[in-house]
């Protein structure tokens, strides 16, 4: 059922004068700090293996300098790997020549940048049209599509403004519209929302989720914020010093952190605020649900916890949008999850 859209296999990236030469040391287990101290090369990424499912949001998370930007730039080859393989839709991206790579970038991917990277000399509509412009698509069609996306991100009326005349949040929406106008299957978002203040940031997250529910893109989303990762991600990969620490479902990251690093990450999270019913539900196995209360799969625990405390049901039934039962949570499981 699930199809792998982007496959990354044993990817290594070493920055420095002679990466191939020190590659051997890295394979023999020399770590990031030692590599820098002894061989003055920076270990950007080591042994990354990642499958991104089609139509899902894959979050990559890690502290500053952990290699997130480096990793996402490999997917459209803005950075060339030192070793490893990248496959998109069963095509070897590393085998592309200049032309094929250009077409791949034009048709398959679109990127949103951490610091917007808008063209300061172009109006909003020109910026949003950039991807189609590069493809040489004729201007009426471009203009139509661009206007549509400008409207969808709520910037109608700003078409002829220059980026400098917009607030940071508005600029980031231009960046989002620019990527979406390209209508590529793969959306690469490098800390797209990190530069925004909390309120605008929440708006942007909601816009993204709303769009995703109708567009079903394959999204690679980078953040260093766990709350954001849990809110947006279908799957979360945690990077540390260029290495993958854990790659799991959001709930598993939270409930079963595998390393101390991840544990530290999730320690202070208020679980009832970030876990949704669907994250913690278990399969229905003919349990007695006559006295159960019903919640929506996308409700946060926070939303129904009061009812649980009041009514003390044995069982909580989880339903989808069409009110179909999709799973259940026993009150025992719920209290265990919140206790930890």
């Amino acid at each position: 059922m699930s199809v792998v859209k982007i496959k990354i296999e044993s990817l290594y990236k070493i920055f420095g004068a002679n990466p191939k030469m020190v590659m051997e040391h890295v394979k023999n287990g020399v770590g990031k700090d030692e590599l820098l101290a002894k061989y003055s090369h920076v270990l950007g990424l080591q042994d990354i293996n990642l499958n991104v499912q089609e139509k899902s949001i894959q979050v990559i998370m890690g502290l500053s300098g952990s290699g997130k930007s480096t990793l996402i730039r490999h997917i459209n080859r803005l950075i060339e790997p030192t070793a490893g393989k990248i496959t998109v839709e069963d095509q070897d991206v590393m085998a592309y020549d200049k032309n094929a790579l250009r077409n791949f970038r034009r048709e398959k991917t679109a990127m949103v940048f951490q610091r917007f990277a808008l063209m300061p000399h172009m109006t909003v509509i020109k910026n949003v049209s950039l991807g189609l412009d590069m493809q040489g698509i004729k201007s009426e069609e471009t203009k139509e599509k661009a206007s549509l996306w400008i409207e969808k991100v709520g910037l109608s009326g700003y078409e002829e403004k220059y980026p400098q005349h917009l607030s940071g949040g508005m600029q980031q929406r231009v960046g989002l519209a620019r990527a979406l106008t390209n209508d590529a299957d793969i959306l690469l978002m490098d800390e797209a929302f990190s530069a925004l203040d909390p309120l605008i940031r929440k708006d942007m997250q909601d816009i993204l989720l709303e769009l995703q529910s109708e567009l079903h893109k394959t999204v690679v989303f980078i953040t260093h914020d766990l709350d954001e990762a849990l809110k947006i991600g279908d799957r979360i990969t945690i990077l540390k010093d260029g290495k993958m620490d854990q790659d799991d479902l959001p709930a598993d990251i939270l409930l079963n952190p595998k390393t101390d690093y991840v544990k530290k990450f999730v320690e202070d999270v208020n679980r009832s605020r970030v876990l949704k019913a669907k994250h913690i539900m278990q399969k229905l196995n003919g349990e007695d649900i006559s006295k159960a209360i019903k919640v929506n799969e996308n409700d946060f625990i926070e939303k129904f916890i009061d009812r649980v405390v009041e009514e003390k049901p044995e069982m909580i039934v989880v339903q989808d949008k069409q009110n179909k039962n999709v799973g259940c949570i026993s009150s025992k499981r719920l209290s265990e999850i919140l206790k930890k």
Binding site: A110, A117, L130, H165
Partner: protein, 295 residues
């Protein structure tokens, strides 16, 4: 200690032969290729002569009107327009109209040549570190070598006339536009380039959609400097047969005519100020997006 007291000099006779050899070689070169090189520049000469005639033969009110409109279109500044009109009226009134028109013609042609050659060279330099490493010392030399020195080979090659004058002006005036085009393009924001790459831009799209537009303020500073340097060469160029405001200045030097020299000198200053302001204003005006936030 003989060795320390007198510098080990090349033998007198040898030195003379050495210099003679070079001169002879170059003279042979000039004799063989001089005509070919001259005919290469024919179209340029034709254009220069045509422009000069046009400027001199058109009725003066029309010229002033055209210059004033150009000033207005480029700068949208009424002060500059009035300044332009007054300057040219005074230039005409003091009998320097024809010389000024000749100077405007050669400055215009020289600037166009410098831009046509210099901007592509600047782009090339920005694209390749090796090109930069080769061209930078050449530019340094062009800017520091006394202009009289490179007049010599030009004279040997082409004799006295408008074309050698034009070439001399261009050699002197082209370095800033090359340098600043190179600098402007190299300074273009890496993130903007990464963004356009991520959308699959070709090298040409990269250059025309991002690099040149974003380098434009710097390139314009280069254009401005090039014009100014071309003006500064007017007097020297007139030594090898270029007509214009430089000629009366030369005459004033050899005869100690203070007023004549001063008046023509001031006319050059007036041209410089007008060209400078116009090109600066224009450079700023095409950068509309740099205006302050006005949400």
């Amino acid at each position: 200690m003989d060795f320390l007291d007198s510098f080990p000099v090349m033998e007198q006779q040898e030195l003379r032969d050495f210099k003679k050899g070079i001169d002879l070689a170059f003279r042979t070169f000039a004799r063989t290729y001089g005509d070919a090189i001259e005919s290469f520049f024919e179209p340029l000469l034709f254009f220069l002569v045509w422009l000069e005639k046009l400027l001199i033969n058109s009725p003066w009110p029309i010229i002033i009107l055209v210059l004033a409109s150009l000033a207005w279109i480029a700068s949208r500044s009424i002060v500059l327009v009035i300044g332009t009109i007054i300057s040219f009226l005074m230039i005409g009134y003091f009998g320097m109209w024809k010389d000024t028109m000749s100077t405007v013609a050669i400055i215009t042609v020289a600037t166009l040549v410098c831009l046509a050659a210099g901007i592509p060279m600047g782009i090339l330099m920005a694209r390749s570190n090796r090109a930069q490493a080769t061209l930078l010392p050449v530019l340094d030399m062009m800017q520091t070598i006394p202009s009289f020195v490179y007049l010599i080979p030009i004279l040997m090659l082409l004799g006295i006339g408008k074309v050698p004058g034009l070439i001399a002006v261009c050699i002197y005036a082209i370095p800033p536009i090359i340098r600043l085009t190179n600098l402007g393009i190299r300074e273009v924001d890496k993130e903007a380039l990464e963004a356009i790459d991520s959308f699959g831009a070709t090298t040409w799209q990269r250059l025309t959609k991002v690099q040149i537009p974003l380098a434009l303020p710097t390139i314009f500073a280069g254009i401005n400097q090039t014009i100014m340097m071309a003006l500064a060469m007017v007097v020297i160029a007139s030594m090898i047969g270029v007509r214009g405001l430089g000629v009366p200045i030369l005459r004033a030097i050899s005869n100690q005519y203070l007023a004549l020299g001063l008046m023509n000198g001031l006319a050059i200053v007036a041209l410089a100020i007008i060209f400078d302001r116009i090109s600066q204003h224009y450079g700023k005006r095409i950068q509309k997006h740099r205006e302050g936030r006005n949400l």
